[in-house]
């Protein structure tokens, strides 16, 4: 909200208060000085709650309360207007009462349209609205002063003296006063005369009945509309202006009366003419809202006492009316323009705000801290990151928003209203976003590294309206790159990193199963998939890991000689080593560990064979003969699946 200093002074005697102090005072009460004072205007941040803060008077009222100075209210014309002849009444017909709460009108005849006086032009221009003529300027002036948008239309341009408010027709056209063509749709509502739309209700006036220098008779309206309709329609039609800014907040219907009385005063002062009563369509007049304010509630939230005198003074300055008062409670009428006040705490909030936040003391929280409820998975993922960082890996957080992938249709979580086609869905794998980090390293002359991210992947299957169909899976993704090494060497690094990570976090008894077709192996433990590995990285499901991890004790206090046997298996080239390791483990519970040492391919083995050296470790009680038996037994088992031998 822009508040010209000159305009502000109309309502408050600022005396010697410096502009710096005014800016700080506005900031304290909730109107943060957004930009430095430019010598004319305070630019204040508006937080969408206080519709009355979209008016100079509304901001002035709170400032006056905070500075404890009097507020001078603007002059209004409250006398009754002339009674029109029946045929001169502008009839008001509302066909869409769900969109209109009140439609307050007055008619003026014999006005003189001319330029506005300099003071009004200056204020409007400092605020940011160009001056047009005295009548249009008055409607704008009252809108900025009191927060109520208004319209003046030239009666001479009406085909018959009536305003009908109805839903817009599909594809109906309207030309705004700026000459822009707007194509309407039925959620919008329009002010019409003689069947033709003259104003897009609550949003923008049309050019057909606009006031110009030839105008003498006008119909002035101040409406109160369903703000939800205004919000939806203005956003859909992409129209943002001063009128919409106010109408899409909660304005009170009562404000129309105050605004029309103020505008009447200014029209009679600045344009002359005669004012005639006209229809005030207000089928459900609202009642003042009463609320109890307990001192105990003030204490409960503030933790300290504010005297009844101070409370009464603050409430009165803010426009609250005290109906009754005891030592421990106030009964107040909420000012109609404070549509933001919902609960008693909001009144307490007003009191603390105007009393000054700087006066609130500080106090340490008392009481025993509650039981810890941090999820185990959160702590576990932290420890995974720590382990990987110890293993020299670099952690990244990448943007989970990606471009929609048609191949994943039905599984991908797609955003309905993203403005960016590169970010209109959620990722289903992290590798997709993590791999984009690699070029940063390569550019920076680093040709190898280990990157990881602990995050989520997102999927959806079934009815989009059902929240339960959305799944967020927690994943640790690790990616290795080495511009200089072979794919096999990179796989060796990947596998070693994974084994070390598993050893350190306590994952034992897992095996690798070749995934069908894909260049990928699944990591399986007791039938449950805990992740997958590729030559240059791995994906782990952290929740499954957490469920499977065992307490790690890497300290050996009872050092004993362990038996082990090294065996060269000659296997078909495409036979997975993981299956040999699984087979050895499956043969005997006395096997403690099976290690792959190296592989060999050579002419003497033929093109379709390779030799792999496997080291099998046994429990201390297993002697050499038993060990040989176990390996022999494994070979028998393996031979059932493929042509496998042991190299002697």
């Amino acid at each position: 909200m822009r508040i010209p200093l000159d305009w502000l002074k109309e309502y408050i005697d600022l005396g010697n208060t410096s502009v710096k102090e005014i800016g700080e005072a506005f900031t304290q009460i909730g109107l943060l000085l957004d930009k430095p004072f430019d010598g004319k205007v305070f630019d204040l941040e508006h937080r969408f709650d206080r519709s009355d803060w979209l008016s100079v008077l509304g901001c002035a009222r709170d400032l006056a309360a905070y500075l404890k100075v009097d507020l001078k209210l603007p002059k209004t014309y409250i006398k009754e207007g002339k009674k029109p002849r029946n045929e001169d009444v502008v009839k008001i017909e509302i066909e869409c009462p769900d969109a209109v709460n009140r439609f307050n009108t007055r008619v003026f005849r014999y006005v003189k349209v001319k330029p506005s006086p300099e003071w009004m032009k200056k204020r409007l221009e400092e605020y940011g609205i160009p001056s047009i003529n005295n009548i249009v300027d008055i409607t704008n002036y009252v809108m900025v002063e009191l927060g109520q948008p208004m319209h003046a239309q030239d009666l001479a341009k009406f085909r018959k003296p009536e305003i009908v408010i109805r839903k817009a027709r599909n594809e109906e056209k309207l030309y705004t006063f700026l000459g822009d063509e707007v194509t309407l749709y039925p959620e919008a509502f329009v002010l019409t005369q003689g069947g033709a739309a003259t104003v897009l209700g609550g949003i923008v006036g049309g050019r057909e009945t606009g006031v110009d220098e030839k105008t003498t008779d006008i119909v002035l309206d101040a409406g109160n509309y369903n703000q939800n309709v205004i919000r939806k329609v203005s956003r859909k039609l992409n129209i943002q202006n001063e009128t919409v800014l106010r109408y899409d907040k909660f304005l009170h219907p009562e404000l129309t009366q105050y605004a029309i009385e103020r505008a009447t005063y200014l029209i009679l002062e600045l344009a002359g003419g005669e004012y005639y009563q006209n229809v005030d369509w207000n089928p459900h007049p609202s009642q003042p809202k009463e609320m109890a304010l307990r001192k105990s509630r003030v204490r409960k939230l503030a933790g300290f006492d504010i005297s009844n005198e101070d409370i009464a003074d603050i409430l009165s300055r803010l426009g609250y009316q005290t109906v009754s008062r005891s030592a421990e409670a106030f009964k107040v009428v909420i000012p109609y323009f404070r549509t933001d006040i919902e609960v008693e705490d909001d009144v307490v909030s007003d009191i603390l705000r105007i009393n000054g936040y700087t006066k609130i003391p500080t106090a340490q929280i008392q009481g025993t801290p509650p039981k810890e409820i941090t999820p185990e998975i959160y702590k576990f993922e932290e420890s995974l990151s720590d382990e990987l960082a110890q293993l020299r890996a670099h952690e990244f957080i990448t943007d989970p928003l990606v471009s929609r992938n048609e191949n994943l249709a039905g599984n991908q979580v797609v955003l309905e209203n993203s403005q960016n086609s590169q970010k209109n869905a959620l990722r289903t794998i992290i590798a997709e976003t993590l791999k984009e980090i690699v070029p940063n390293y390569v550019k920076n002359q680093t040709d190898s590294g280990v990157l990881f991210e602990v995050g989520k992947v997102y999927t959806q299957k079934g009815n989009k309206k059902d929240f339960q169909t959305y799944t967020e899976t927690r994943v640790l993704e690790c990616l290795l790159f080495d511009e200089k090494s072979s794919l096999k060497a990179l796989h060796k690094k990947t596998s070693a990193l994974l084994s070390t990570l598993f050893k350190n976090i306590g994952i034992v008894g897992y095996s690798y199963k070749k995934a069908g077709g894909a260049h990928e192996a699944n990591i399986v433990k007791e039938g449950k998939m805990i992740g997958s590995v590729r030559y240059n990285g791995f994906t782990l499901f952290t929740e499954n890991l957490l469920a499977e991890k065992k307490q790690v004790n890497r300290i050996i206090s009872d050092v004993r000689s362990l038996n082990s046997v090294e065996t060269s298996f000659i296997i078909p080239k495409n036979f997975p080593v993981g299956s040999i390791i699984d087979a050895i483990k499956a043969v005997s519970p006395d096997v403690t560990k099976v290690e792959f040492l190296e592989e060999y391919t050579g002419k003497e083995l033929g093109n379709d064979k390779r030799s792999v050296l496997i080291k099998t470790h046994f429990k201390p009680e297993v002697d050499q003969n038993d060990a040989t038996d176990i390996i022999d037994h494994t070979l028998v088992e393996l031979k059932k699946t493929a042509d496998i031998n042991i190299r002697s």
Binding site: I29, G30, L32, K35, R47, D49, R50, S51, Q227, D248, L301, G303, D340, E342, V343, E344, D345, V348, S349, Y357, T358, I360, T362, A363, I365, G367, T368, P369, P370, E372, I373, T374, A389, R392, A393, H394, F396, I397, T398, D399, P400, V413, V414, L415, E416, N417, Q419, N420, L426, E436, I437, K443, N444, T446, K456, Q460, K464, F467, Y470, E472
Partner: protein
């Protein structure tokens, strides 16, 4: 029996070549060492011979062990002094692990709050309008929804959470007070991407609910938290600020350290920099979570993490922070 002179000759040779490990293994290897073999064959001798040979062999074993070790140390010493090592060569540093800047700041904050008895909370990123808005006192069509442009998955009910407050709503519903929780988390908004705004960002939320919690406790916690973040000399400004989920609401600013409050480009000429928003948890929010607001009170705060991280690590574009970094 192993001849001591032969051994001494071998030792002299090994001193020159440095093959001291090989020498040791020649005589004392567990499987095929010459002396080891002799010691092993003691069992075959008569008791008398054993008595005679045993101590001799042990003495010889001890001699060989000690002399090879001594020679090994001497050889190493000569090696170091004669070595052709150019100690002025600067080899590149070993690559070490690194946590993402945002993780580092989250950890630092979590540590601070854990000390004061806070747990860390979590919740879904794909969220319902119920938890993201309505439980937080933002009914459909409320003008304050404009404060956060929402990315919808299925409008109007399913969306990407626009703030971490949704987790506050979930935890308040599921845990009886007293509660002290912080929530670091990913959030999403339909913003125009630029160096300071992105669709995807991080917030750090916290809340306390108990009997007797007042705005003074909030001010106290914010004061010590800001001192933790910015140092003991930090100057704070507490001011009223509206947030739908709290009443009364509060904004906390720190005096700009670049201009000492005079106004500069960094603080947009304000003299102060906004760090976070907070306030007493709204009556309706507590009520909607099944907590009696006449018995319990609480406060909550929330802050954007990314700008703080960027300032601390000298990163000028949020899009770099989540995709454009590399670490040395």
């Amino acid at each position: 029996m192993v001849d001591i002179n032969t051994y001494n000759n071998d030792l002299e040779q090994a001193r020159k070549t440095g093959a001291l490990d090989e020498l040791y293994l020649k005589y004392l290897s567990k499987t095929h060492g010459l002396l080891t073999q002799e010691i092993k064959s003691l069992g075959k001798l008569s008791l008398e011979d054993k008595k005679e040979m045993g101590p001799k062999l042990n003495k010889l074993k001890k001699y060989i062990e000690e002399s090879t070790e001594k020679a090994r140390q001497e050889y190493r010493q000569t090696q170091i002094s004669d070595a052709d090592i150019d100690l002025t060569i600067p080899y590149p540093p070993i690559n070490t692990g690194y946590l993402h800047p945002t993780t580092q700041i989250i950890r630092q904050m979590n540590d601070f709050f854990r000390y004061y008895g806070f747990s860390v909370g979590e919740g879904p990123e794909i969220e319902t309008a119920e938890y993201n808005f309505r439980r937080l006192n933002l009914p459909e069509g409320h003008p304050a929804t404009d404060l956060q442009d929402t990315l919808f998955v299925n409008e109007p009910d399913i969306l990407l959470r626009t703030h971490t407050s949704s987790i506050e709503a979930r935890i308040l519903e599921n845990y009886k007070p007293p509660t002290r929780v912080v929530v670091p988390g990913k959030c999403y908004r339909n913003e125009t991407a630029n160096p300071t705004n992105s669709f995807f960002f991080h917030q750090y939320q916290g809340f306390v609910v108990d009997k007797g919690i007042t705005i003074q406790n909030l001010k106290w916690l914010m004061e010590i938290f800001h001192k933790h973040l910015f140092g003991d000399d930090v100057e704070l400004r507490f001011r009223y600020k509206y947030y739908p989920e709290v009443s009364p609401g509060m904004g906390v600013d720190v005096k700009c350290s670049f201009c000492n409050g005079e106004g500069c480009a960094v603080c947009k000429q304000r003299g102060w920099m906004e760090v976070l928003g907070c306030g007493m948890i709204h009556y309706n929010t507590l009520k909607a979570s099944g907590i009696d607001p006449e018995v319990y009170t609480g406060f909550a705060w929330g802050m954007g993490l990314d700008r703080l991280v960027m300032a601390k690590f000298g990163i000028i574009d949020i899009r770099k922070l989540y995709g454009g970094l590399a670490y040395l």
